[in-house]
C-alpha cells in the first residue's frame, strides 16, 4: 500500500496532527476492504436492516433498494450476514 495519491512526508503536517476539525470524512477507509458487499437490486426489499447494522454508516438509502458507499465501507460483511433476503453478497476485491 504505497498509496501514491496520498501526500508525502514533505507536505504532511508534522507529528500526525490533523490540523482541522471534522477531517475524518477525508480519510477514505474504503481501501481497508478485502471483500466488497454487492447488493442484488432484484432481491433487496429495502427493509433497511443493513442500514441499521452498518457500523460505518456506509449503507446509502434510495427509494427502492440500498446502495453502498464504497469510500467508507470497510467490508466487514455485517450487512450481508444480517440481510433476511440474502440480497447482499461479499465478493473479493480485485486489485
Amino acid at each position: 500500500m504505497t498509496s501514491n495519491h496520498k501526500p508525502g512526508w514533505k507536505s504532511l503536517p508534522i507529528g500526525g496532527v490533523a490540523p482541522e476539525a471534522g477531517s475524518s470524512l477525508k480519510y477514505k477507509t474504503g481501501d481497508w476492504r478485502a471483500f466488497r458487499p454487492q447488493v442484488d437490486k432484484e432481491k433487496c426489499v429495502n427493509c433497511l436492516i443493513c442500514w441499521i447494522y452498518c457500523p460505518d454508516s456506509a449503507i446509502i438509502r434510495t427509494e427502492k433498494w440500498v446502495e453502498v458507499n464504497y469510500d467508507y465501507c470497510k467490508g466487514c460483511g455485517i450487512c450481508a450476514n444480517e440481510c433476511p433476503k440474502e440480497a447482499i453478497k461479499m465478493v473479493e476485491e480485485q486489485e
Binding site: 512526508w9 504532511l12 503536517p13 508534522i14 500526525g16
Partner: protein, 391 residues
C-alpha cells in the same frame, strides 16, 4: 559575571527557573531528586509562575508533559535510571508528537543489581527514541545546555524533545562555581515558545490520531529530517548563546587534537579527567588528544570524522554496555562513521565506570599508552577493554 556555588542539579533547576517554563511534571529519583526538589521550592516561594504537576510515576510525568507541551506550553521534566526506563514508551510519544520538551537526565546505572550511581546505561537504552541527546561535562555546562536546549527543541524546523544529560553524583551532587546569566539576558535569548499547533478547545484539532501503514512511515521520515535539523539548530543556537555567554559551545570540543597520534573520545564528566591526563602526557612528549562529544543524538558523523580523521588510534569510551552488540553504543557509532573512509584510525572500545566505578587518571593514562602503542604497530590488541573491572 555572577558566580554562584551550585551542584549540577541546582544549576539545572536555576536554568529552568530562568527559562520561564510553564509546566513541570516530575517524579523524584536519585540522583535527580534535588533538581526537581529545588525547582518545587521556587514554585512554593512564588519565584516562578510555573504549574507544578505532582505525579505518581515517571510514566505519568512524561504523559503530563506531553499533554502540556501540546497546548503550546514550555515544559520541563527530569529523571534518571529506572525512572527513564519507566518513561520509555512515552519518550517515543513525545518525539512522535513533536513535543519540544526538555528533560534533565541525571545519568544512573540500571537495575539489577540495584545501584544508584552514575553511568550512561539509562539514556543509551533510549537512544533510538527520537530524543536529542546532549551530555554536559560539569555543572556549568549543565546550566548552559539546559537554557540552550529549550531553544534547540523549539526551533521551527526541529520541534523535538531534548535531553540534557549529567553524570549522576559526579555532576549532579558536586558543588561548583557556576557563572549564571542575568534573568533579562535569558529572557531575550529564549523568548516565548511559538508552537506550530496548539491543543485549544476553541479551535479543535486532532493530536495523536492513529496512522496505519499508509501514513505512519511518512511521519517517521519527518522525524529523521527534524533530527538532522536539530544538528544545524544546535550550531545556530550555540553561536547565538556565545554572544551572551562568551563561551564556545557546539557539537564537540577538542583538546590537543592538532597533531595527535592517539585520542580518546568520550561523553560527559570523563572528558575533564581525560584532558588533565592528556596534558600530563603531552608534557612527556606524547602526542595525545581528547574529543568530548556534547551532541550524541543526532550523531554528528561529519564532525567526528573531521575531528578524528588524522589520528592513528582511537579509544572510544562507553559508560554503558550494549549486551550482545559488537561494541558499546558510542563505539559502534564511531566505527560506522569511519566505515566509508579509506583510512580509518584503529578503533578500540573502552567500557568503564559502570555503576559509578571511579575512573582514575592512571587508568586513562594506561588507555592513552595502549592507543599510542596501537598507533605505532597498527594492531588493536583488545577490541573491547573493560577498564577497572576485577578478573
Amino acid at each position: 559575571m555572577t558566580i554562584v556555588g551550585m551542584t549540577g542539579n541546582e544549576a539545572v533547576a536555576y536554568a529552568v527557573k530562568q527559562s520561564k517554563v510553564d509546566i513541570v511534571a516530575a517524579y523524584p529519583i536519585t540522583p535527580q531528586t534535588i533538581m526537581v526538589e529545588r525547582f518545587s521550592k521556587y514554585v512554593a516561594d512564588g519565584e516562578v509562575h510555573t504549574g507544578y504537576v505532582c505525579v505518581e510515576s515517571e510514566h505519568s510525568a512524561m504523559s503530563a508533559c506531553i499533554g502540556a507541551s501540546l497546548t503550546g506550553a514550555r515544559v520541563f521534566t527530569a529523571t534518571a535510571s529506572q525512572g527513564l526506563a519507566l518513561m520509555h514508551e512515552m519518550l517515543y510519544i513525545a518525539s512522535g508528537l513533536r513535543c519540544p520538551i526538555v528533560m534533565g537526565v541525571a545519568n544512573r546505572a540500571l537495575s539489577a543489581p540495584l545501584n544508584i550511581h552514575g553511568d550512561h546505561s539509562d539514556m543509551m537504552g533510549s537512544r533510538d527514541s527520537g530524543w536529542v541527546q546532549i551530555y554536559a561535562e560539569n555543572a556549568q555546562e549543565a546550566y548552559d545546555w539546559t537554557i540552550m536546549a529549550f531553544k534547540i527543541a523549539e526551533e521551527r524546523d526541529v520541534q523535538l524533545p531534548v535531553s540534557v544529560n549529567l553524570d549522576g553524583f559526579i555532576i549532579t551532587h558536586c558543588m561548583e562555581g557556576v557563572d549564571v546569566l542575568e534573568d533579562e539576558a535569558v529572557n531575550r535569548f529564549l523568548q516565548t515558545r511559538k508552537p506550530l499547533f496548539t491543543l485549544d478547545p476553541e479551535k479543535p484539532i486532532t493530536f495523536g490520531a492513529m496512522c496505519l501503514a499508509d501514513y505512519y512511515f511518512e511521519f517517521k521520515r519527518q522525524q529523521v529530517e527534524a533530527m538532522q535539523n536539530a544538528r544545524r539548530a544546535l550550531d545556530r543556537v550555540c553561536k547565538e548563546y556565545k554572544d551572551i555567554r562568551g563561551k564556545n559551545y557546539g557539537i564537540l570540543e577538542t583538546y590537543e587534537m592538532e597533531d595527535a597520534q592517539a585520542a580518546i573520545i568520550c561523553l560527559g564528566s570523563t572528558a575533564g579527567t581525560a584532558r588533565e591526563v592528556a596534558h600530563e602526557l603531552r608534557g612527556q612528549g606524547k602526542k595525545v588528544g581528547v574529543v568530548k562529544l556534547w551532541l550524541y543524538r543526532p550523531f554528528p558523523i561529519e564532525e567526528v570524522i573531521s575531528a578524528l580523521k588524522d589520528v592513528k588510534a582511537l579509544a572510544v569510551f562507553d559508560k554503558a554496555i550494549s549486551f550482545g552488540a559488537p561494541y558499546g553504543a558510542l563505539c559502534s557509532d564511531m566505527v560506522s562513521a569511519f566505515y566509508a573512509l579509506r583510512e580509518s584510525p584503529k578503533i578500540f572500545n573502552v567500557i568503564f565506570g559502570l555503576g559509578g566505578r571511579d575512573v582514575q587518571p592512571s587508568e586513562i593514562a594506561f588507555v592513552f599508552n595502549e592507543a599510542l602503542e596501537t598507533a605505532k604497530t597498527g594492531v588493536v590488541k583488545e577490541k573491547t577493554m573493560f577498564l577497572g573491572v576485577r578478573d
